[in-house]
Every structure is written in C-alpha cells, then in structure tokens.
C-alpha cells in the first residue's frame, strides 16, 4: 500500500463563488495527493466543498465558481493553466467521472450503447465494428448481463443499479488513470450500493485506476478507500489511512461524524460476549414461550390490552391515478397480509428498501390510504377520558420541506390542529403553541417565520411539534431523519427519545437506514416487497437474523464497515 507514484497533487487550492463583487470561499486552501492505483475517499456533509473539489480537478466548475489560487498537478502538468484543447483531450481519456444521479446524467434520447461508445470514439481510432464490440465488452465487464441488449436500451429502461454500472463502464472504457466518483451510490438501495462499491474496487484492482470517491456517508468511504480526507466548510480537517483515521480520530469533527454512526457499527459499541450470551438465552426462553402458546394465557390476554396498535391481515392497494375513461384502472397490491401489533410506549422500527411498501403502510395506519382490507385497531386511550382532547395518531413525514405549508407561518401551522380538533380559546391555543415550540428546542421567535426561513433540522422540529401539539399517544415517523445531515440526524433522534420519555409516546419508526433503526427502536420489523419477513427485538435481529433478506441487508450495511471494525 505504500510507495505508490504520485498521480495527482492538489496544492493550496482555493475556490470561490462570486456573488455581486463579494467572493464566498467554498474551498479554502486545501492540499492532497492521489497516488497511482489507490482509492482515496473524501467525506463531508453537504456544503463541505467535496463536490467542488472534484469538479475543479476535472475542470467542470460552473461558470459562477472561480479558482482563486493553487495548483492541480496531474502527471506533472498544472491542470489549472493548460489550454482548453489540451484539457479536453485529458477529460475522458485520462480523467473521467462517475456522477451521482445516473438517470439525469445520461442523455435521455440516446441509447446507453451510443453514449458509452461516444466516449471511445472521442478518444481513440478504431473501425466501426470494433467500437461496438469494445463497448459491448465494456458493458459485460461491469457485470451487465446481456450486454448486446443493454447496448440498444435507453436510460429510462434500465434500473438505477444497471445505469450506474453502465456509467462506470463509460468512465472506464478509455482506461483513464483517474476516475472521480461523486456520490456514486447515494441514489441506490443498500444492497445495490454494496455491489456498486464492490465493482469500483474490482475495476481499481484490475486496471490499476486511481479513484477519488466522494461521499457524505462514512461507511461508504470506509468500505473501499485506502486513504480518506475529511472536509468541513471547505477545509480539510483530517486526512490519513482509512483504518487509522476512523479507529483513532484526532479531530473533534471527525469524532462527531463517527459518533453519529449508530451503535452496532461504530468501534466502541462492539458487543461484549456477555450481551451476546444474554440474547441467546432470551432467545431460548422465547422459543419456549411460543411452544406454550397453545394454552391461552391470562397474562397474554392482559398484554393484548397494552397494545396501542393492532394490525391484522392487512392488505393495502394502490390505484393508478391515470386515464380512467379509456382503459381499465390498474390496482396494485402494495401490502400483503400483514399482522403485527405495537405496545404502549415502545418504538417499533419498520425497515425496508425503497418500494417495499413502508410509506404505504404508514399512510394506511393513519388513515390516509383508504384502499385497505383487514383490521387496523388503534387503542390510543382517547376514550379513557384522561386526555383533554382527541388524540388520533399523528405522523411526521420524511421531507419537512414538503410537510409544512410554505405559505403559512410556523405559528399558524402549529395553531391549525388546535383550531380543528379542540375547543380551546385563542389565548389558550397560543399558550399551547408557545409551550410546544420550546419543547422541541426552538424559541417563540421562530413562530413568526415561514418554513423556508428555517434550516432542515429546525423544520423537522416544527413538524414534530405540529404532530405532538394535539397530544397523540401514537406517532408514526416516516423516514424522519433521512433528508438530514448525520450530525443533525443525531440531534433529532435524541429529541424524539426525550419526548417519548416525557410524554410516554409510542412510535412507529420507518426507515431504510438500519443504523438509524438500531439507534432508536426496541423492536424491528423487516419488510420486503410488502410482506413482513422478520420481526424481532432490535438487538436480536442484529445478531441472530433468520431470514435471508435480513442477512443480506445487514451484510450490505456491514460490508461497509468491515475495514475498520471487524464484527
């Protein structure tokens, strides 16, 4: 791993966005090197300047962004001063790029084959048939089966994973010395993610291509990078070999990033043998319990009453909202025969990939989806007369930007549910609004603002406040932290936990992210294609998964961390 020859060196690079005679520095005096054949990771949250760094290496900065100072030496040439023509020749042949969103990064009107082949045509001279043969070979190399067919396909006809493979084929077909991959897996499902990362690693080993891998996700960086750079606010805060960097970080920010990676995966949380034993024993007990199940147990009867939510044989459908005058309306079943219950005060996690039906389930529970068969029984204490007003289950949505009405002020948004559901007077309502806004860690100052004037984390706090203001017992959280940066994620999760304790709330927590799930959930339900494949205590699920799909999910999530913590 040592003594590689240097391929690229960035020296004291500063980049700024000019905005009416004022210049905002987005990259602040950074230096790093990329050696031949190595994979180097750049990690940082949004706005850290990692993408700008990549774009300045390949010379694709948007026109509003200007290089302020520094050098980018590639093969002894300073890329910032060479002529356009020369740089164009390098682009594609020596340095190429893999982009995040493979759907928009391909031209929708040209076939995949034509676009991959174009790269070859631009930088080499072959006979016509050879171009096609080489392109098909390249498509085969990245693991696309039936490359002849793929060659003829248009981008929209392929899945995200296939498109990303084609993009890697395109970037590698000219055998460049350096490939820059900007968040290449962010738009993909976990299982596909790990395959694409594996492919990048394979191509790196096979052709000796250096790779700069850019990601906001530490685990992606950990999975295949030899060295890593941590960026924050346009500066490099720490750099070093991946293993050392993440096992023994020096910088506060790196530590914070690591700490935000939840329990089972970070180094300090590897479970001791004792805990594993304990789970094993509990597992045995449970097996015995299930054996005893034949006889109705009075204790179990009582348990039933503690269930705040009971779902039995639930089927949920989705109808296409398209043309109905001509042609039949198609009805798809999204949820198949689900049965589960949620106990008072617990947090039930529901995990699954996109398209597994998680969000449909959430909407069905709160009554937003009416096309259901089966039983949804909510026993939230509203009838007990203890609560001052109605408390139907409430929901917190993934995107706080979409869940708060952009034309209303925060104060209005929070008061609205009280207007609709209670008979409180204006004064009492305002008092309640003032109370809840502090409860979620904001101030009454924020009530006068519009949602667009708040940050993502603040907006999600408002969304939580709006859900809690009517005193629900059950709250459905649909990917509540997915759109937030890791450090903000941790804050919101902490807030949710605190509120749960204080108000004795029950959560149904939906997420695609196993890490988040393990951080907050007591029990976890794994959903695959609309069916529950496994349901267990969180820790149990993690250490003793039964179902193949759960194992695969865990493996993909862990592959990512195998380099640093060997679980």
């Amino acid at each position: 791993m040592t003594n590689y020859e240097t391929l690229l060196s960035v020296e004291n690079l500063s980049v700024g966005v000019s905005d009416k005679r004022k210049i905002n520095t987005v990259i602040d005096n950074i230096s790093f090197e990329v050696k031949k054949g190595e994979i180097i990771g750049i990690v940082g949250e949004s706005g850290s300047g990692k993408t700008m760094t990549a774009l300045s290496v390949i010379g694709l900065l948007p026109p509003s962004v200007k290089i302020l100072s520094g050098k980018v030496n590639f093969h002894g040439k300073n890329l910032l001063t060479i002529e356009d023509k020369e740089f164009r020749r390098l682009r594609g042949s020596e340095i190429s790029m893999v982009f995040q969103d493979s759907m928009t990064s391909f031209n929708p009107l040209l076939t995949i084959g034509a676009q991959v082949e174009e790269m070859l045509r631009l930088h080499s001279k072959y006979e016509k048939e050879e171009y096609k043969a080489l392109t098909i070979e390249a498509l085969a190399e990245v693991g696309l089966s039936k490359p002849q067919e793929i060659y003829q396909k248009y981008p929209h006809q392929l899945s995200g994973g296939m498109r990303q493979r084609a993009m890697i084929a395109m970037a590698m077909i000219t055998r460049p010395k350096l490939v820059i991959a900007d968040e290449p897996t962010t738009a993909l499902d976990v299982t596909t993610q790990s395959k694409i990362l594996g492919l990048l690693k394979k191509m790196n080993e096979k052709h000796g291509t250096s790779i700069i891998l850019i990601s906001h996700d530490l685990r992606v960086i950990q999975s295949i990078c030899d060295r890593a750079i941590v960026m924050k606010d346009g500066k490099i805060v720490e750099a070093g070999p991946t293993q050392e960097l993440f096992s023994d970080p020096e910088n506060e920010y790196t530590k914070k990033l690591l700490a935000a990676i939840p329990v089972p995966f970070s180094k300090n949380s590897i479970m001791s043998k004792d805990i594993q034993n304990e789970i094993f024993i509990r597992n045995l007990e449970r097996n015995e319990n299930t054996l005893k199940k034949d006889i109705p147990d009075p204790a179990e009867q009582k348990n039933r009453q503690d269930d705040i939510l009971m779902i039995k044989n639930l089927n949920v459908f989705y109808s296409e909202n398209g043309k109905r005058l001509l042609g039949k309306r198609s009805r798809k079943q999204v949820i198949h025969n689900m049965t589960f219950s949620v106990k008072q005060g617990e947090t039930l996690g529901i995990v699954g990939e996109s398209g597994s039906g998680k969000s449909t389930l959430a909407k069905a529970i709160v009554g937003l989806n009416k096309e259901i068969e089966g039983i949804i029984n909510i026993n939230d204490g509203a009838t007990e007369g203890l609560v001052s007003f109605l408390s139907k289950p409430q929901m917190v949505f993934q995107d706080p930007y979409g869940s708060l009405n952009p034309t209303k002020k925060i104060g209005w948004i929070l008061e609205e549910p009280l207007k609709l559901q209670t008979k409180l007077k204006k004064k009492e309502r305002l008092a309640k609004v003032n109370e809840i806004i502090r409860e979620v860690g904001l101030s009454t100052e924020h009530l006068k603002r519009y949602p667009s004037q708040l940050s993502g984390g603040q907006r999600q706090r408002v969304a939580i406040a709006a859900a809690l203001i009517v005193n629900p017992k059950l709250v459905i959280l649909d990917e509540p932290v997915s759109s937030l940066d890791v450090t903000i994620q941790a804050q919101i999760l902490r807030l949710l936990k605190d509120l749960q304790k204080k108000y004795n709330l029950t959560y149904v927590f939906i997420s695609h992210d196993l890490n988040v799930i393990f951080q907050i959930c007591d029990r976890v339900c794994v959903v695959y294609q609309g069916e529950i494949v496994e349901m267990k205590e969180a820790k149990e699920l993690f250490f003793c998964p039964d179902h193949e799909y759960t194992k695969e999910l865990l493996k993909s999530a862990m592959l990512i961390s195998k380099n640093c913590c060997h679980i």
């Binding site: 993934q398 952009p406 549910p417």
Partner: protein, 271 residues
C-alpha cells in the same frame, strides 16, 4: 447576466422595474380619463377633420374632428374595464373548476379535461366569434363570451397545480389534523398556487386586452360611438393614408399596456 436593481434591500430585475413604470404611466392616463379629458371624446368638429398633432390636439384629430387624445384616454378605459371583467369571470370560475377537478380527480375531471383539451385547441378569437355570432355583438356580450372562454385556461393552470400539491405532505398533514376538503382546497392549497396564479392573471389581462381589440377591430365588439382601443383602430384603418397618427395612438397604447404587464409578470417569477 441579469441586470438587477436594488430597492430597499430587495433586488428586482431591471425589466420588472421598467414594467412597473410603463404600467403606472398607462394606468395613470386611464384613471385620469375616467374623470377628466381635454375635450369631450364624442364631440365632432367638421372644421378639424383629420388634423395632424398640434399644441391644441397633441395626438391630432380623427375623421370627425374628435380629439384623439381624449378618445384614447376614454377608449383605453373601456378596454381595461372589459379586460378586467373578463379576467375576473374567467379566473373565478376557472379556479373553482380547476380546484375541484384537480383535488378530487375521478371521471368528472376526465370529462371536463377532455372537453377542455378541445377548447384550448381552438383559437380563442374563433370561439369568441362563434359566441358573438350566436348572442350578438356589443360590450356585455363580449365580456360574457370572452369571460367564459377564459375559464378553461385558468382551470387548466389551477388543476395542474392542485394535482401536484394535493400529493404533498402538508396536505396529508392537514388531513390528519382533521381539516375538511374545502378548507384544504382553499386555505391550504390555493395560496400555494399564487406563484402561478398571479402571473396568469396578468397574462390573462393582456390576452383580454388583445382579444377585445381584435373583436372590436372586426366590428364585432364595442359599437360606435363608444370608443375602445380596438374600435379606434378599426376606424383608423380607412384613413391610414391621410392621417396615420390616428392608428398609431391606440396601437401604441395597446403595445404599452401589454408590454408593461408582461414585463411585470416575467420579472416576478425569478426573484
């Protein structure tokens, strides 16, 4: 490379400001015209037939010796009143239809939209002509005819906004809070269409001005002796050779009106 102007801490497009200036000027002329004109716009004066612009008559006189400036002031007023009425009728019913069809969807939506497709494929002046040929000419008839013709375009705009917005989570949230359909449609969703609705109102006003001018030009709109911009152009047509200034005054008034409003609506979308 957009030229921006800063006023009281807010930045505006240069064109937006220009639009505001033009529109205020034109509006000023029209508003004054409601209360005061230099001459009576309908008084004829045989001695002054087709006289070119002079100090007495800054825009000249027409074939009956009427003062063109006074007639433009009053005529623009007529055109504006007609256009505003048309837009109000079209926008009101269009918004209601668009909101209902967009929010609820279903077969009614399907039928109305098919109908709408056919209507929008037809040149609106043609449809207006059909209306006028059925119900007759005159000011109220063209307000009625064009008002109804404007309904589909507003319905379309509002409907497509509602289709997008009804899926948004803040609508789901409002449903969870227990808000009724009408409340969701008009209190939660409608204000969110303002970025589209306000420019559509301005553009609609322009189209109404042009439609009135076209119909009156063809002699099917405002009837003499009442003045409107289109009516005046129609009269000026025959005297183009002898008194070209007669056509220029109402023509420029139309151009300035339309230009001002389109500059404003164009500048609003981007800040």
């Amino acid at each position: 490379m957009k030229k921006m102007v800063k006023i009281k801490g807010k930045t505006y497009h240069l064109n937006y400001i220009l639009g505001l200036v033009i529109t205020s000027l034109v509006l000023l002329i029209v508003i004054i015209g409601f209360f005061y004109t230099p001459y009576d716009p309908n008084t004829m004066n045989a001695a002054l037939k087709n006289s070119p612009p002079s100090l007495m008559h800054p825009l000249g006189t027409d074939n009956f010796g009427r003062d063109i400036l006074s007639r433009v002031m009053v005529g623009a007023g007529t055109t504006y009143v007609i256009a505003v009425s048309i837009v109000l009728i079209g926008a009101f019913f269009g918004t209601v239809v668009g909101a209902l069809t967009g929010y609820f969807g279903g077969w009614l939506d399907e039928v109305i939209m098919r109908f709408n497709d056919v209507l929008t494929a037809i040149p609106s002046i043609l449809l207006a002509l059909v209306f006028v040929s059925i119900f007759g000419t005159g000011t109220y008839n063209i307000i009625f005819a064009l008002g109804i013709l404007f309904v589909p375009s507003y319905a379309r705009v509002i409907r497509s906004e509602f289709i997008v917005l009804r899926e948004r989570d803040f609508v789901n949230n409002a449903k969870l809070m227990g808000a009724g359909s009408l409340r969701i449609m008009f209190i939660h969703i409608l204000p969110n269409t303002r970025n589209v609705l306000i420019p559509a109102l301005l553009i609609g006003f322009n189209n109404a001005v042009l439609a009135e001018a076209g119909l009156s030009y063809l002699g099917l709109g405002v009837q003499p002796p009442q003045a409107s911009l289109g009516r005046m152009l129609s009269e000026a047509q025959s005297y183009l050779l002898d008194s070209p200034w007669y056509a220029l005054a109402p023509g420029l008034m139309i151009i300035l009106t339309v230009l001002g409003f389109s500059l404003i609506s164009g500048g609003m979308g981007n800040d």
